[in-house]
Amino acid sequence: MAEITTLREAIAGLVRDGDVVAMEGFTHLIPFAAGHEVLRQQRRNLTLVRMTPDVIYDQLIGAGCAKKLIFSWGGNPGVGSLHRLRDAVEHDWPAPLEIQEHGHGDLANAYVAGASNLPFAVLRAYAGSDLPKHNDKIKFIQCPFTGESLAAVPSIRPDVTVIHAQKSDRKGNILLWGILGVQKEAVLAAKRAIVTVEEIVDELNAWPNACILPHWTISAVCRVPGGGFPSYAHGYYERDNRFYQAWDAVARDRDTFQKWIKAHILDTDNFEEFRQVLAESVSQET
């Protein structure tokens, strides 16, 4: 049963040190506000799972929250590198980061297998690729019916999945539209789930198949308008490409990054205050 609560309380109660955490959203609806709150509450030793780590995990990795990353594409979309991820992998800064690397189709299948309560996913991939040589979680099995060799990967079963969505009603039934990504599967694969939403309404007024996650699949729903910023929320606001571009310079240098994290996240109380501080620092630059 979903509890409608504040983001601070949801993260405090549901995300623990050492957890396997999946924060999903494929470019669209990335749960940045929730990622910041995890960072603000200084969780440690997390195993972070996400198809595209994006800036949200660059921040958490650089701030020392993660011990392991399970992912399939680790760039800054449309810009270039995730410098904090690279620094962790290339130079063990701020701490060594174990990586477990897959392809997109593989991770998407692994979430489906998790949601289906199966131990592994099966797919036609990786023949000839070097990825299985460096990731012992990718194996090959023989189809018992045709003899075909197929790739097998363990299902993903996060301790907690965090997503951002457009709307919920007062019970916590979730509406999410546009680019859907793997959010439904990631929530259903997890033990606990937190959903931040743009708004909470009395009536969803949606088509019968539009409520993608009924309230009883969610642990906590938190109203955080703009909570997907600087990614976008279809129908609410667009992707802030300038932020992604500017992140390159912030993340490139350790000192600049640490000052940014302190001023914008550690020294702010919540996402709303982060947005205010960010607006002030952006207006000073221009």
Binding site: T27, E101, H104, L123, G128, E185
Partner: protein
């Protein structure tokens, strides 16, 4: 139209776009492939079906997406499905004719590295990684690669094979039971290469106007082969250039003067 009237990037994009047939179902990577695929859609291939790995099927963006999941792709698509569905039903399901990809490095058999330069455990340069490319390279009916040519990018030996081309050549793909035919063309800013029908080694079959064989040799780390009869890429038409420049101008405006990387 003379070679000085267009850039090497433009002829690369235009030559790549021309390879896409009207009506083809095309699984599109972000960046150069997405630019070329949309140019094809806006010129000779209005009925091309563009699929992006984030979920849009039949996307018709008026500006180029900066990320693989831009809202413009969803708004203009025939339908948007979940990411698992894209990979399971549409790509692995065998409904994609052409996988259209770029790469950081390729070798003479068009195998792709997008993972790491140097040792995996102690990387010199850590690249973004696989994305959907391993599955696209396996399962799409055929693959077209588009990337700028340089000796750093066209290497003798890949540090890491992220996505397979023709492996060690010959019938290697068939032996591994890979569903798709693999790379059928590599388009660069200098030329077009195609795999030799028997050995599958990349062979230059077409030079862009004004480009010499020597320039191509210098920009390739292995000893690149040339077809006995080399064709010349047709010059960009006025329409192709106008539509490409229009598209890129609209994109720069929409993304606040950012270029689609």
């Amino acid at each position: 139209m003379t070679p000085s009237a267009y850039t090497t990037n433009e002829i690369m994009t235009i030559a790549a776009a021309r390879l896409l047939k009207n009506g083809a179902v095309c699984f599109v990577g972000i960046g150069l492939p997405s630019t070329a695929a949309n140019l094809a859609r806006l010129t000779h291939a209005p009925d091309i079906v563009l699929i992006y790995e984030s979920g849009p099927i039949g996307a018709k963006p008026s500006i180029l997406p900066l990320s693989i999941g831009d809202g413009n792709l969803a708004e203009t698509a025939d339908t948007v499905v979940s990411t698992p569905e894209i990979f399971r039903y549409w790509l692995q399901g065998g409904r994609v004719d052409v996988g259209f990809l770029s790469a950081a490095q390729i070798d003479r058999f068009a195998n792709i590295n997008t993972t790491v330069i140097g040792d995996y455990k102690k990387p010199g340069t850590r690249l973004p990684g696989a994305g959907g490319a391993p599955e696209i390279a396996s399962c799409a009916g055929q693959v077209v690669l588009v990337l700028k040519q340089s000796a750093r990018g066209f290497v003798k030996k890949l540090d890491f094979v992220t996505s397979v081309g023709h492996l060690d050549g010959g019938d290697a793909r068939r032996r591994l039971n890979l569903p798709g035919k693999g790379p059928v063309a590599v388009v660069t800013d200098l030329c077009l290469m195609e795999p030799d029908p028997a050995t599958k080694e990349l062979t230059v079959t077409q030079l862009h106007p004004g480009i010499s064989a020597e320039q191509i040799r210098k920009a390739t780390e292995w000893e690149i082969r040339f077809a006995p009869e080399l064709k010349e890429t047709l010059l960009p038409t006025k329409t192709e250039l106008e539509i490409l420049r229009d598209l890129e101008r609209r994109t720069r405006l929409a993304h606040g003067n950012l270029t689609a990387a």
